[in-house]
Symmetry: C2
């Protein structure tokens, strides 16, 4: 049973991508070319629930402002659907499908799954105009092993072995298939990778990419993203990743620990952009969860993408004795979207925990812009177990969510209270968990936290990108406009706030 | 900050073990001897929060009714604490510490951690009276590697290599140490096992045991339980397990998938009994979570143990293509605690999903006994995605929790709503998650579910023990006394209810 509460158009996020109308899920075909960032996405524009997806399309110059375009790849019939996949730039015309009239940077090849009842195959479509219009390759499918659950191809150019490499999910066998091709058309099997960590119900959306070290962009590590659900650690669907080596044939994981790319409920189906102007790795996730994506409040469209993130790897402390190489996720720079006149910086150093009488409000603020979007950066001093900082974030109706930071020994719990009567929402569902929580280990003297809040999406990053925590929430009565910070010990060292505004979309 | 709501004595569980007073955590020293099940446990009887543990002690003839005894192992000083460990029966006096006056079955040896600031060692205490009084071994410690976080020894007799084998946590290095001994006194290092799956902040409470196959007790598999927290998949602390081989020196995991022994929030520090009358493997977990155990409502005592469980292994379907060998957990037989006059059996076969108009109440019941304890067995027909069965369980004040079963394709979400205004509780905490959820894959035509509810503990088992889901809850105004079952499609096939009562404790 689905109980819906209408969601007003004026609650649309200003910096997080949303579809013009209909149901959106996975990001697809992420490709950078000609100075343009392309974002395709699973879209059923006839419905507000998952059904018959095709590829929606948007572009950006800055990864913050997006322009909608007409659908890029459409289903040939009602019993076929265009499921997830990727794009590459075939500059050297390896496919042989382009003529000289298409400039090298405009030669975009999409590789994606066509889904029919009981059968999924990999297919190709070609664009000679830089990704705006596609024509299906005439001899599709290009890869068919006769399986019902075989999908979500992601392709990269592997220079050392001089070939295109596809990773694709053998979903119910819990394998990632690796295939090689000279031309994007003819594919041969290279290997299968059997993961570790969580299996859940199925594998989806593999994504192989070489990611640079933090502060050492020449040193790189292969990262294999893998989306899994249902059966996620926190419930529903989530994005796991593996660190390892890839030799052109086989991916070898460096160990078998579970690594989670985002510890919140709402960051699924992550994909990275093919190419980037600075050689860095950028990606995006779908800010929802199959556990409740069809049931959350919606009116004209359903769900948003996360902000684009820049990925690196770095050693992170799990405790004083053990470090672990980890994916580092940082949101793209929001400086252009900041209302600089509203910038605030505060430092609290007064008093000791012992002298502190009880919970004290240390900061209150009413946002000026009405955009429902702002970010804050927080530094919390470690070393006072059981101390708490609370941030209450409310809209004009007084309905709110709460972010709580609870210091423990060598770590901190971060809890988001996003449900119950405080949100004022008449919408409730057994599968929408009201409180979500993550553990942030830390052996340093300070926890740094960066929160971006935009309409119904809250993204939180801690320990300089070592932990990401993305969650949606649904307040009755408009976007957030005020927030209140309190603490029960003097542990807040810095609290910087920036209001955020929308930017003009790309031409 | 801790906000407490008093918890009345009359809300004590009738079948789940609780300490007489004080703060309880891990089960310790589980041993069966002379027809008696011994349950020792981490106990600080001077406080309602974790602090300075010693070993509490209780015994049972039937694993359902428990008799409290005086503390079994006490801390020699305030700056030393008796942390977790195990007991074995040293029938053959391998330790050389018993004289002929102690009958073989009365020779109980406890092996446990003594914790001081910055140092943890393994120690021995001896009982010649079957586990009621212990004397510390005079040359303690028996194992000291100079580490601050080295604890929770669990010892078994390994017949093929004719030695005692200890597993013990090298907590912050994420290793399980294996040590061998001919006499329980002199220990030598055998190997270290590096796990896979989740690391979190630290490893605790390893437990190695040979578990029989379901329906084939001669065939066995080694199971290594391992408790981990904070940093659990669902938040806080949890119990992971590995399946593998043990050759007397080295444990080898058969694969590297994350396996979770209980998918709820409240089943930690699991330990199995040394020995049993029928050769089966029985164990118990602590029904709480370090995320909030010091903060939940309490008056005289804090926390309960789970019901004892019988463990086996069996192949379980993750989807139609893949099976996985899994730990099977079944609660011990509650037949003796059932009020048979109240037995009910119902079968619903009327109507089709299409004809079903909306949510319908199909069963309501007021419990007669006032014990706050009952169980129900439910069969839900699969194959109607998005159909729901809801069980609302309330006390006399009308405050309630809700269990929801939501059918999906090849699986079902089970959600427990245990918070918010419906529970009437003035107690709330950011770290006590109001809704908890698990995914139950199923490729069969029916989901079987078995729920046992006793005061503030709810244990749920699905697919004949393949999935366990243990969670606590805190209602204002007394134990539960009524429940209401509703569904939005005719998918409930069987609903059997038994009221449960307390049993006289062992002499």
């Amino acid at each position: 049973m689905t109980v819906d509460v209408k969601r007003n158009e004026d609650q649309r996020p200003v910096l997080h991508f949303t579809p013009q109308k209909g149901f959106m899920n996975d990001p697809n075909g992420l490709v950078y070319s000609n100075g343009i960032w392309h974002l395709y996405y699973q879209l059923d524009d006839r419905s507000l629930v998952a059904g018959h997806p095709e590829w929606g399309h948007a572009t950006s110059n800055d990864l913050l402002s997006w322009r909608w375009h007409k659908k890029a790849i459409m289903a040939p019939s009602d019993h076929e659907a265009i499921w997830s996949g990727c794009c590459v730039v075939d500059r050297n015309n390896t496919s042989g499908q382009f003529d000289e009239s298409a400039s090298p940077d405009d030669r975009i090849v999409a590789i994606f799954t066509i889904h029919t009842q009981g059968h999924q195959t990999q297919n190709v479509a070609l664009s000679s105009d830089g990704g705006y219009t596609f024509t299906q390759y005439k001899h599709n499918p290009v890869l068919d092993i006769g399986w019902a659950h075989f999908r979500d191809p992601k392709v990269l150019w592997h220079e050392p072995s001089n070939q295109w490499v596809m990773v694709v999910a053998k979903c119910h066998q819990f394998k990632v298939g690796f295939y090689g091709s000279p031309d994007l058309i003819h594919w041969h099997h290279l290997s299968d990778f059997e993961g570790s960590g969580v299996r859940g119900y199925q594998y989806e959306m593999p994504n192989l990419v070489q990611v640079p070290w933090d502060n050492d962009s020449d040193r790189k590590r292969w990262v294999l993203f893998l989306s899994i659900g249902p059966g996620a650690p926190l419930g529903g669907s989530f994005t796991q990743y593996f660190l390892g080596d890839f030799d052109g044939t086989t991916f070898t994981s460096s160990d078998n620990y579970l690594r989670t790319a985002d510890l919140g409920k709402d960051w699924y189906a992550a994909q990275t952009w093919f190419d980037s102007p600075d050689g860095a790795v950028y990606g995006i996730g779908w800010a929802s969860n199959w556990q409740y994506c069809n049931r959350v409040p919606a009116e004209r469209y359903r769900s948003a993408m996360s902000l684009p993130r820049k990925f690196t790897v770095r050693e992170v402390s799990l405790n004083v004795a053990t470090k672990s190489l980890s994916l580092i996720s940082r949101p793209i720079d929001l400086d252009n979207a900041r209302l600089h006149t509203d910038e605030t910086a505060m430092v609290y150093t007064n008093g000791s925990a012992k002298d502190y009488p009880s919970i004290q409000v240390i900061y209150e603020r009413r946002l000026q812009s009405g955009s429902g979007a702002f970010e804050f950066k927080l530094k919390i001093r470690s070393g006072t177990p059981a101390a708490r900082v609370s941030v209450d974030i409310a809209n004009r109706s007084g309905h709110s969510i709460g972010l709580n930071f609870l210091v423990e020994v060598e770590g901190m719990f971060v809890s988001l209270d996003r449900g119950g009567t405080r949100t004022g929402s008449s919408w409730d569902h057994p599968l929408f968990d009201d409180k979500v929580c993550m553990w942030v280990p830390n052996t340093q003297s300070v926890y740094d936290v960066h929160v971006i809040l935009d309409a119904f999406v809250c993204e939180l990053f801690a320990i300089d990108g070592a932990y990401a925590f993305t969650n949606t929430f649904f307040l009755q009565g408009g976007v957030v406009s005020t927030f209140t910070v309190s603490q029960d010990a003097p542990i807040t060292e810095v609290f910087d706030v920036y209001e955020l505004c929308s930017l003009a979309p790309a031409k």
